[in-house]
């Protein structure tokens, strides 16, 4: 079994994070924006795991468990909010949903 070098894993995590950020910025659908946020969280989690394995410390995995729990909570609240928004506005388009006019 070959171990992945830390550089490659971090590169992957950075790539995932960028994809997530780009998704949040570019997607119009609020549901996909939530999805992109999840990707960003997982990118962060991956970086923690890689770092933990590199230094031989359990802290990285502990942090990942935290992130996982937090992501679960975030998704449940986020999804319920999205459901409410769809219920009220019959739309998930973020540009249609803005109510403030600056």
């Amino acid at each position: 079994m070959t171990t992945a070098s830390i550089d490659n894993v971090l590169l992957l995590a950075g790539l995932l994070f960028t994809i997530g950020v780009a998704g949040v910025m570019m997607r119009k659908n609020i549901f996909f924006m939530l999805l992109s946020v999840e990707i960003m969280l997982n990118a962060a989690g991956l970086a923690f795991i890689a770092a933990g394995s590199h230094w031989g410390q359990p802290d990285g995995q502990v942090m990942f468990i935290f992130i996982l729990a937090m992501a679960a909570a975030e998704v449940s609240i986020g999804l319920s909010l999205i459901l409410q928004i769809y219920h009220l506005h019959k739309s998930l388009d973020i540009d249609n949903l803005k109510e403030m006019n600056g």
């Binding site: 950020v21 949040v24 910025m25 570019m26 924006m33 973020i94 540009d95 803005k98 109510e99 403030m100 006019n101 600056g102």
Partner: protein
């Protein structure tokens, strides 16, 4: 008695506190009993203490009640001190105060604010007693401000009339100018002497100011400023004639007998500073001499009987200032005492007359009251005779003659000061006679509607007796060297040094008599025998203009209006937008406009926010990498 000195001011204070707390629940009888009783008991205590001082002249009552303030080296105490000078003032304040309170009990009977009146009067007596009994200048200043406050409260006593409120504010503001000077003077004294105790600074002053007499001059000048305001001397005299808006007993107590003489007391008390500053002492004499002429001429033309008396008060205090200025300290205090008696009598008499003729103030609408109000007539005549200084029989003659003589003969006396005082005596006699002739002689013009009862007539008679007999406590030197009053005061005040030959004193007495008789005859001929000649005189343009000028008190009000009030109002109007405020409102305006611009960023568009966040993060990381 030594330690019981505090009881003299404490009794009126107690009366004030009772009246102000329970005034609305007390009946009129109880109110009067508290108001009059407290001052009467205080007068008894004052008389007893004064009597002890007379018997043991070297004695000085001193009592320290408690330390008032204690900061570093500065610890003024609530301490009272009664020496000969203070004793004379206590005697006059409490005795005349008690008589005036008794008079007020009947005079103010129908007033709805009976208890407020007595509360203020009691507070006034308390404040004045604190002023004269204070052992340090800070306590003196407390009393000084206290009488100012009471004066304001009592001038504006009938506050429903806006004119009275205006007069009260005017009195307060004008005296405030003097008070400020006095306060600065106290700071200077403390700075130089490191103490405010009167005895300490009086003994230390000659040493301290040996090197820098300018400092003593400055302090004396500031003290004089305070005295000018309170004693209504030129140029701060304009408040006193308007102060007649208050009830007559107030005019008698505050604006004739006691409060306005606080300035005389202050100068006599701090005489050391004035002896160190001869220039300022000369200025006192000059101010006094000018004031007595200016006010005397104004009194000649007034219609309102109370305004005549007000101007005459200013004029008589001018005499006291003249005496202080030439170094005749005891003569000034003697004239203060005599003047307090006869001026209180005249004001109370005037109040009784006004009340009897249905609140008519104008002398030209009185007349012929001689037969209708005999007691008032006779007592008023005694007071007027004293004011005009009728020789030998009246107290006013002895005190004023002393001042006239010292204006010539004392060390700082001058011929021109004497001649001004002499002309003043002539004018005094003239306006006194004019007042009496207009009020009591001639045809009856206003019906008498009410007659005074005993509590009005008794104080009048008592004061009339005093105004006659009090003069004999200090006879001129050529009348057999009977001078117990000035001997008594010499325990506190310095002797009057003479420059003229004492044997010539009789000439000045005869000249003073000539002035008095001349003035009386002048008024008699114009206002009684030749009424037509008066009208003829009044039609001449020069006299008409003079009359208008004097009636308006030499136009000082207008002068101050034009040169002080108007420019001040103009500045306030010009500065209505408030130049300084512009800076601060500009800051507020910039913030508001910035806010409006920035608010455009808060569009509600989530993707813009994220864009902003990412951009910010990139910039931060970039900076981190670069730096």
């Amino acid at each position: 008695m030594q330690t019981m000195l505090w009881i003299i001011p404490a009794l009126p204070l107690l009366g004030f506190l009772l009246l102000i707390s329970y005034g609305s629940r007390l009946s009129r009888r109880q109110t009067a009993a508290i108001g009059v009783g407290s001052v009467l008991l205080s007068a008894c205590a004052g008389l007893y203490a004064g009597g002890q001082l007379l018997l043991h002249p070297s004695l000085v009552y001193e009592v320290t009640l408690w330390t008032w303030i204690d900061i570093g080296d500065f610890h003024p105490a609530i301490a009272l001190r009664m020496d000969a000078l203070a004793a004379v003032f206590v005697f006059v304040i409490t005795l005349i105060g008690a008589l005036i309170h008794l008079y007020s009990a009947e005079f103010m009977e129908k007033d709805p604010d009976y208890s407020r009146f007595f509360a203020c009067m009691n507070l006034f007596v308390f404040a004045m007693l604190v002023l004269v009994l204070a052992d340090n200048l800070l306590l003196l200043y407390l009393g000084w401000e206290g009488v100012g406050l009471c004066s304001y409260l009592l001038i504006g006593f009938w506050y429903e009339n806006p004119a009275n409120g205006h007069a009260a504010r005017k009195a307060f503001t004008m005296t405030r100018i003097g008070d400020t000077a006095l306060a600065i003077g106290l700071f200077c004294i403390y700075y130089a002497c490191k103490s405010l105790n009167i005895v300490d600074i009086s003994t230390a002053a000659p040493l301290i100011f040996q090197q820098n007499p300018q400092e003593a001059t400055l302090i004396a000048f500031l003290l004089l400023g305070g005295a000018l305001g309170k004693s209504a001397q030129l140029p701060l005299q304009t408040w006193l004639p308007d102060a007649m808006a208050g009830p007559s007993p107030v005019s008698a107590l505050i604006h004739a007998a006691t409060m306005v003489t606080a300035g005389v007391y202050l100068i006599a008390r701090m005489y050391v500073f004035f002896e160190l500053a001869p220039a300022v002492q000369g200025l006192i004499a000059v101010i006094g001499a000018i004031t007595l002429l200016v006010a005397g001429l104004s009194a000649l033309t007034q219609y309102d009987i109370k305004r005549v008396l007000a101007y005459s008060t200013i004029s008589q205090i001018g005499y006291m200032f003249l005496a202080l200025g030439v170094g005749a300290w005891t003569a000034a205090i003697f004239h203060f005492m005599v003047h307090a008696f006869f001026k209180a009598l005249l004001f109370l008499g005037a109040g009784a007359i006004i009340e009897s003729v249905n609140h008519e103030h104008s002398m030209f609408r009185m007349g012929g009251l001689r037969k209708k109000l005999p007691i008032i007539f006779w007592t008023f005549m005694v007071g007027t005779a004293s004011l005009a200084a009728i020789p030998l029989v009246t107290a006013g003659f002895y005190s004023k003659d002393q001042i006239l003589w010292y204006a010539w003969g004392a060390r700082h006396g001058q011929a021109w000061l004497w001649s001004m005082a002499w002309v003043g005596a002539f004018i005094t006699a003239a306006y006194s006679a004019r007042m009496v002739l207009l009020v009591f002689w001639g045809p009856l013009k206003t019906e008498v509607t009410s007659r005074p009862r005993w509590s009005i007539t008794f104080p009048l008679i008592a004061l009339a007796v005093c105004s006659t007999w009090i003069g004999f406590v200090d006879l001129p030197h050529n009348f057999g060297h009977f001078t117990p009053f000035s001997d008594f005061l010499h325990h506190t005040l310095p002797l009057t040094e003479l420059r003229a030959d004492p044997t010539t004193e009789w000439m000045f007495q005869i000249l003073a008599t000539v002035a008095t008789v001349g003035g009386l005859l002048l008024a008699y001929s114009y206002y009684y025998i030749h009424n037509k000649r008066l009208r003829h005189l009044a039609n001449q343009p020069l006299f008409r203009r003079l009359h208008r000028l004097w009636l308006a008190g030499w136009g000082f009000d207008k002068l101050y209006q034009t040169f002080i009030s108007r420019p001040f109002l103009w500045v306030t109007k010009a500065n209505k937008a408030d130049g300084v405020d512009q800076l601060y409102s500009a800051m507020a305006n910039i913030t508001t406009s910035l806010n409006q611009r920035m608010a455009a960023l808060q569009s509600g568009s989530l993707r813009w926010y994220i864009m902003g966040m990412v951009l910010g993060a990139i910039i931060l990381f970039g900076l981190q990498l670069l730096l």
